[in-house]
Symmetry: C2
Subunit: 163 residues, 2 copies
DNA sequence: ACATAAAGTTCTAAAATTGAACTGTCAATT
DNA sequence: AATTGACAGTTCAATTTTAGAACTTTATGT
């Protein structure tokens, strides 16, 4: 499967993986959420090659996650800021960071702590149900085909791709 | 940066990206959460090459996300099930799916709907603060260096990597 | 005896990534 | 006036990863 095909799968996970499912995109976005905006800042913070950084920034702009805006004329220079679509990736970033905090820390502990300005406390992110507010457990969730589901072929001899 | 180096970065996001930051791992885990357990099931559902599927399964087992257990003798066959560490990736999967549902659906709508057995309703996942229960917004979160942070070198001439 | 199934392994070709150097514009310094 | 340095990239060869297809092994069904 090619990257372009991934984007067309009838699966919201596959389509999102087409955007952020590589080694660098999430790290670039981490820097965006840490208020970095410029090519050199990304490059020196991450150690990514300039070639690939340029490619990834172009891709994230094309997909509407970042916006490229000039911050000076002559020579024209641009910086990259999160769009709303990009800002909406915050729960993805935070859930990934939280999993790392739980399962991948070394003996020294967490690299970063997060303070919620709303309540003033150090917190962990918790994923809850929009309807009842209870924390989500995988075992309590059942999936149903939605309007965009792949049609199930009755008595097909070939197994269907899951949606 | 190599994959091994990523795992050693003082950053929970980088370390998690070392586990799931490729095109296939998240898709394999999607299938795991959809109750798929076997090599052939993964392969036909995803269209991943057998070679790479074998590699990824080995990696996920080595990292403790999946466990490989025999389900029959002669010929010995194995299936792959989520460990607790793997189950804990559920919020990551769900936040990714939700972003895709919000920003990557076509005109037909969502491929899947999620029902919360706890309350019986179709829901969306919402990320809230563990301390005050309010939904998290990027702008309301400030980060502080934790015990595992990279030490900041005073007056360094080279920019530090962000943590 | 032959086909099928499961869970891989092996091989070559194609694609993506790395590393390092190079470009062009401008400001500041010698 | 010439040199240096910053910034935002681009270019290109070498390496690493991934894709695609065929093959292996053990056992069951017809």
């Amino acid at each position: 499967m090619k990257w372009d095909e991934l984007e067309e799968e009838p699966c919201s996970l596959a389509r999102t993986v087409a955007v952020i499912g590589d080694r660098w995109s999430l790290l670039i976005l981490r820097e965006c959420f840490l208020r970095k905006r410029r090519f050199e800042a990304f490059q020196s913070a991450l150690g990514i090659t300039r070639h690939l950084l340029a490619e990834r920034l172009k891709k994230l702009v094309r997909l509407g996650v970042l916006r490229r805006i000039p911050y000076q004329e002559s020579p024209k220079r641009y910086e990259y800021i999160l769009t709303q679509k990009g800002l909406d990736l915050y729960p993805v970033i935070m859930s990934i960071v939280h999993w790392g905090d739980t399962h991948m820390v070394d003996s020294r502990g967490r690299p970063l702590l997060h303070e919620h300005q709303n309540c003033g406390k150090m917190f962990d992110p918790v994923m809850v149900c929009s309807e009842c507010g209870e924390p989500l457990l995988a075992k309590q969730v059942h999936v149903h085909p939605g309007p965009g589901a792949r049609k199930v072929v009755a008595a097909s001899s070939k197994p269907e791709k899951a949606g």
